[in-house]
C-alpha cells in the first residue's frame, strides 16, 4: 500500500514537472516577444544603435547578420534561435561577446541572491521563533520590527548606511566590489565560495565572505521579512498549537517538536513565499549591485538599458526572466514534494 502511495506521489510529481516545463516554454515565448517588440521600438537605426563606430562596411555586415531587410517574423526567429544557440552578439560598450560577459556576471548575481536568501531565511526563522517564544518584551518587538524593516526601508539607502557604518566607521568591510585583487583570483565555476574552497585557500575564502558581507546583509532583510511574516501568520493558526500540544503529550522534547516537526510542516510555506518573491529579490539585487558596485547581472542590465546596448538587453533580460521563472518553478516543485496539498502558486491564496 505504501508502494502504491509512493507511485501515486511520483506520478503527481511528474505531472507537476511537465506542467512547469510547459509554463517555462510559454514564458520563453511571451517574454521573447515582449523584449523583441521593445527593442524594435527603440527610435533610431537598429544597426548604428548596435555599433560603436558605424562605418559603412560594418553597417552592411551587421544588417545581413541581423537580417534587417527580412520580415519581422524572420528577425524574431533569428533572435530566438541565436539565443538558444548561445550566440548572443557583442556588447556595444566593451566589444566583448555578450556570452563571455554574462558568464562572468551571472554567477556573481546568483551568489549574492542565494547567499541573501540563505541568510534571510535564517534571520526570518530566528525572528519568528523568537517572537513566538518571548511573547512580549524586547525580543518579541525586535522580531516584529525586523519584519517591518525588511519591507519598508529602501534598499539603496540602507546600503549607504551599511557602507558608512561598516566600511567607513568600523573599517571591517570593503565598500564595494567582489574580489580582493591583491590576492590571486580563483578561477572555475565563478562562484567564489566554491572556487576558493576547491583551491583550499582560506584567505581567499575569508576575503570572499568579507566582500559578500555588506551586500548580503542588506539584501537579506527582504526575504527575512517575508519569512517572518509568513511564519507569524502560520503561528497564529490554532491548529498548529494543537499539533504541538499533541506531540508534547507524546513525550517529544521542545526543540525536537519545533525544529523538526513544525519546521517540516512550515517548510512548504517558506519555500513558496521565498520562491514566489524571487523576482522581487532579483529586483532588490539590482539595486544592491548598484550601491555596492557588485559586478552582477543587475548592474550590467541597468547600464545596458541606460546605454542602449541592444544585444545585451535582448539576451540578458530574457536570460534573467528565464532564471526567475526557473527558480520559482523549482520552489513550487520543492513545496509540492514536501506538501502535495499546496496548490499552484497562481491559485494560492497567499
Amino acid at each position: 500500500m505504501i508502494a502504491a502511495k509512493q507511485e501515486h506521489k511520483l506520478k503527481a510529481f511528474l505531472i507537476e514537472l511537465l506542467h512547469k516545463v510547459w509554463l517555462l516554454l510559454l514564458v520563453f515565448f511571451i517574454a521573447s516577444v515582449v523584449i523583441f517588440t521593445a527593442v524594435n521600438l527603440v527610435p533610431g537605426d537598429p544597426v548604428s544603435l548596435r555599433l560603436k563606430n558605424p562605418d559603412p562596411e560594418r553597417v552592411v555586415a551587421i544588417r545581413a547578420e541581423l537580417g534587417l531587410d527580412e520580415p519581422l517574423i524572420n528577425q524574431y526567429l533569428h533572435y530566438i534561435t541565436s539565443f538558444v544557440r548561445g550566440d548572443w552578439g557583442d556588447s556595444l560598450i566593451t566589444g566583448q561577446t555578450v556570452r563571455e560577459e554574462i558568464s562572468e556576471y551571472f554567477p556573481a548575481t546568483l551568489e549574492l541572491a542565494f547567499a541573501a536568501l540563505f541568510l534571510g531565511v535564517f534571520l526570518g526563522l530566528g525572528a519568528a521563533f523568537s517572537a513566538q517564544w518571548f511573547k512580549s518584551g524586547l525580543w518579541h518587538n525586535t522580531a516584529l520590527g525586523l519584519g517591518a524593516l525588511g519591507l519598508t526601508v529602501p534598499i539603496f539607502w540602507l546600503g549607504f548606511l551599511f557602507i558608512v557604518v561598516g566600511s567607513l566607521w568600523l573599517g571591517w568591510f570593503p565598500s564595494g566590489g567582489r574580489i580582493d585583487f591583491t590576492l590571486p583570483i580563483p578561477q572555475g565555476s565563478g562562484f567564489l565560495i566554491f572556487d576558493s574552497l576547491a583551491v583550499g585557500r582560506l584567505d581567499m575564502l575569508g576575503s570572499t565572505f568579507q566582500y559578500l558581507a555588506l551586500p548580503v546583509c542588506c539584501l537579506s532583510l527582504y526575504p527575512a521579512a517575508l519569512v517572518c511574516g509568513v511564519l507569524q501568520a502560520r503561528f497564529a493558526d490554532p491548529r498548529l498549537h494543537t499539533l504541538v500540544r499533541a506531540l508534547r503529550a507524546k513525550g517529544l522534547n521542545e526543540s525536537r517538536i519545533w525544529l523538526i516537526h513544525v519546521l517540516r510542516l512550515l517548510s512548504a510555506a517558506i519555500i513558496t513565499v521565498v520562491g514566489t518573491n524571487f523576482g522581487a529579490l532579483l529586483g532588490g539585487a539590482v539595486l544592491t549591485e548598484s550601491v555596492f558596485s557588485w559586478p552582477g547581472m543587475g548592474r550590467y542590465l541597468v547600464e545596458a538599458v541606460l546605454n542602449r546596448d541592444l544585444f545585451v538587453i535582448e539576451n540578458g533580460l530574457l536570460l534573467i526572466i528565464l532564471l526567475a521563472y526557473f527558480i520559482i518553478s523549482t520552489a513550487d516543485l520543492l513545496a509540492f514534494l514536501s506538501n502535495p496539498t499546496v496548490r499552484r502558486y497562481y491559485d494560492s491564496t497567499s
Binding site: 557602507i163 570593503p174 565598500s175 559578500l212 546605454n307 542602449r308
Partner: protein, 537 residues
C-alpha cells in the same frame, strides 16, 4: 532541576543562536584593514569605467589609453610633465627641410613583451596596419579614427635600414612629430598578431614597463612588472587597474587602504581630503575644454545677437564653483590657456552680463514660444565630471533671462549620435587635446571637413570659408609667430559667429596615497605608473 529541563530552557534560544552564528560566517574573513603598508607588492589604481579595448590604434577613451600607457611606448614621447618631445623608442630623429620626410633611428636592445626584438620591420607593423586598408591587421571592426584625425598627411612609411624607418608626407604638418608621441602611434608586437589574430585587441603586447596579464571585464586589468624592460624597472611587482564606477565607493576604498590611487572623482568629494596628510591631491589645469555647441540647423538660434545673449547669461564662475568646486577655470576661448593662438591682449570676448542678455532677448519674443532644448549626457567625462549638474546650472541661468529650457538627458553614446547629426539646439560636449597643438582643437571644432554627418567633431556644423582657409594655413606654417597671427584671426571669426560657447577648462585631478613618490601629471592626461615608487611616511 535536572539536566534535561536545563537544556530545554536554554535550547529555546537555539534558533536565535543559529541565526546569530550564521552571521559569524560572514565575519570570518573580517579583520581591521591594515592602513599602513610597507612597500606593497601590488599597486592598485581605481577609475570610474573600464577600458573598452586595448588596441592603441582603435581607442578614444581615457581609460583604454591609460591602461596602454603602462604597456606600450612610442617612437618619441612628451618629456614628463611637459609638451616637449624627447626621443624614446627611437634614439634620434631627423626632419627634412621641406617638412615632407621624417626619419627615426630605433634604439638597440629593446624587446616586446613576447620576446620580439624591436627593429625597423617590427616597428613598421604598427603604422602599416593603420595606413593600409588591405593590411591583415586592419580590422574590419576597427575605425582607426585617430589616424584619420592626426596622420592624414602621411603618404608612406618604410624601412630605410635595419633600424631606421622613414615617414613621407603629402604636405607639411608641423604637429606630426607631436602626434607621433600620442597613443595611436604606440608600438605593438607583430608576432602577437600572427599568433592571436584579432584577440590582440584584448591582449596587448608592447615594450613598456608593465606587461599585460589578465582582464576581468568591468572589474580590473592586471599587469605585472616587465623584468626585461630596457629602461628603469618598475617598483611594483603587480599593477592592478580597478574599475569602481561609483564615486563614493571608490573614495571609500581609498580610505580603507584597498586602493592606492584614483582619478575621476567629482570635486565635491575631494573637499574632505584637503587637510588629510595621508593623501596627496595632484591637480593641474587640463588640456581640455567643455563647451555648449549651438547647432547651425537650429533656425531660432541663428542670430549672433541671440548667441551672444545666451553666452552672456551663463554664469560660468558659478559652474566652476558649484559643479566643480573650484577645480576648473572659466574658458574664455575654445583653446586651453597658454596655447598658440590665444590672443594676449584685449578683454575676453564673452562676459557674464545677465541684464544685457535680458535686454537683447526681449527683442526676440518668438524664442519664448517653445522651450529651448539643451542636450546633455549622464556619464562623467574629463572635461565635465558632472554633466547633469552643469546642465542644471545653465538651465537656471537661462531661465533668469526669461528663456525656457528643456534638458534632454541621454547616455553618452546616444548623445554623441544626436550631436554628430546636429540634431539639437544646444548641446553640451567637450574635447581633450591629444598633442598640444591648437589645430587639434580648432580644426576639430570649426573645420568644414569635420562637419560630416554621423562622424562630425564639428557638431555645430559650422561652415565658413574664411575659417577653413585660416585653419589650413595654420596647419602648414612652421614659423611660430606666423601661426600665432593666423590663429588669432581665427579667434576673431569665432568670436563674431559664436558657433560654440566655451564654458570651462577642467583640472585634471588624481589622488594618491602620500607614500607614492615620483608620480607626475601629464599635460596629455595620460597616467604613467612606470616611474612611481613607494616611500613610507
Amino acid at each position: 532541576m535536572n539536566i534535561i529541563s536545563f537544556l530545554n530552557a536554554h535550547l529555546r534560544c537555539s534558533p536565535v543562536i543559529i541565526a546569530a552564528a550564521s552571521q559569524i560566517f560572514f565575519l570570518t574573513g573580517c579583520s581591521r584593514i591594515d592602513e599602513s603598508d610597507t612597500h606593497p607588492n601590488t599597486f592598485v589604481f581605481a577609475r570610474g569605467s573600464d577600458a573598452q579595448k586595448l588596441d592603441p590604434a582603435d581607442i578614444d577613451d581615457g581609460e583604454s589609453v591609460n591602461t596602454l600607457a603602462q604597456i606600450c611606448e612610442g617612437l618619441v614621447r612628451f618629456k614628463s610633465g611637459t609638451l616637449d618631445i624627447q626621443p624614446w623608442l627611437a634614439r634620434s630623429y631627423t626632419i627634412a627641410k621641406d617638412g615632407l620626410s621624417y626619419t627615426f633611428e630605433l634604439r638597440e636592445g629593446v624587446r616586446f613583451h613576447d620576446g620580439t626584438p624591436l627593429n625597423a620591420k617590427t616597428a613598421l607593423f604598427t603604422f602599416e596596419r593603420q595606413l593600409d586598408a588591405t593590411h591583415p591587421a586592419h580590422f574590419l571592426k576597427a575605425s582607426f579614427q585617430y589616424w584619420k584625425n592626426l596622420f592624414q598627411e602621411i603618404k608612406t612609411v618604410r624601412a630605410t635600414g635595419p633600424m631606421t624607418i622613414e615617414f613621407k608626407l603629402n604636405e607639411p604638418n608641423a604637429s606630426i612629430l607631436y602626434s607621433l608621441a600620442t597613443f595611436p602611434a604606440w608600438l605593438i608586437s607583430p608576432l602577437a598578431f600572427e599568433s592571436h589574430g584579432e584577440a590582440i585587441v584584448r591582449r596587448p603586447i608592447g615594450t613598456g614597463p608593465y606587461r599585460f596579464v589578465d582582464w576581468k571585464p568591468n572589474q580590473a586589468i592586471i599587469l605585472e612588472k616587465n623584468q626585461d624592460y630596457w629602461g628603469a624597472q618598475a617598483s611594483f611587482e603587480r599593477l592592478v587597474l580597478r574599475t569602481i564606477p561609483d564615486n563614493t565607493v571608490r573614495l571609500l576604498e581609498l580610505k580603507a587602504g584597498k586602493i592606492h590611487a584614483l582619478d575621476g572623482l567629482q570635486p565635491a568629494e575631494l573637499v574632505e581630503l584637503f587637510n588629510n596628510n595621508k593623501y596627496t591631491i595632484h591637480s593641474q589645469p587640463g588640456m581640455n575644454v567643455g563647451y555648449i555647441a549651438i547647432s547651425n540647423f537650429a533656425k531660432r538660434l541663428r542670430s549672433p545677437a541671440i548667441r551672444r545673449a545666451i553666452a552672456m547669461a551663463i554664469d560660468r564662475k558659478a559652474i566652476v564653483d558649484l559643479a566643480l568646486d573650484g577645480f576648473a577655470i572659466v574658458a574664455e576661448y575654445p583653446i586651453p590657456p597658454g596655447f598658440l593662438g590665444e590672443p594676449d591682449n584685449g578683454p575676453p570676448p564673452i562676459s557674464h552680463n545677465p541684464e544685457a542678455a535680458r535686454i537683447i532677448l526681449n527683442e526676440y519674443p518668438d524664442l519664448l514660444k517653445r522651450p529651448i532644448e539643451l542636450h546633455t549626457f549622464t556619464a562623467p567625462r574629463p572635461y565635465f565630471p558632472d554633466p547633469l549638474k552643469i546642465a542644471s546650472l545653465i538651465r537656471n541661468d537661462l531661465e533668469k533671462v526669461n528663456l525656457k529650457v528643456e534638458i534632454i538627458t541621454r547616455d553618452f553614446k546616444s548623445h554623441l549620435v544626436a550631436a554628430r547629426r546636429g540634431n539639437f539646439e544646444l548641446a553640451l560636449l567637450g574635447w581633450s587635446g591629444d598633442n598640444g597643438d591648437p589645430d587639434n582643437f580648432l580644426a576639430t571644432f570649426f573645420a568644414s571637413w569635420a562637419a560630416v554627418e554621423d562622424s562630425a567633431t564639428n557638431i555645430s556644423f559650422y561652415k565658413n570659408k574664411a575659417m577653413d582657409k585660416l585653419l589650413i594655413t595654420g596647419r602648414q606654417q612652421t614659423d611660430l609667430k606666423q601661426r600665432q597671427k593666423t590663429y588669432e584671426q581665427a579667434m576673431l571669426i569665432w568670436a563674431r559667429d559664436l558657433p560654440l560657447i566655451p564654458l570651462i577648462h577642467t583640472e585634471q585631478i588624481v589622488v594618491t596615497r602620500s607614500e607614492v613618490t615620483g608620480f607626475q601629471l601629464q599635460k596629455t592626461a595620460n597616467l604613467f605608473f612606470g616611474p612611481i615608487g613607494w616611500q613610507s611616511l
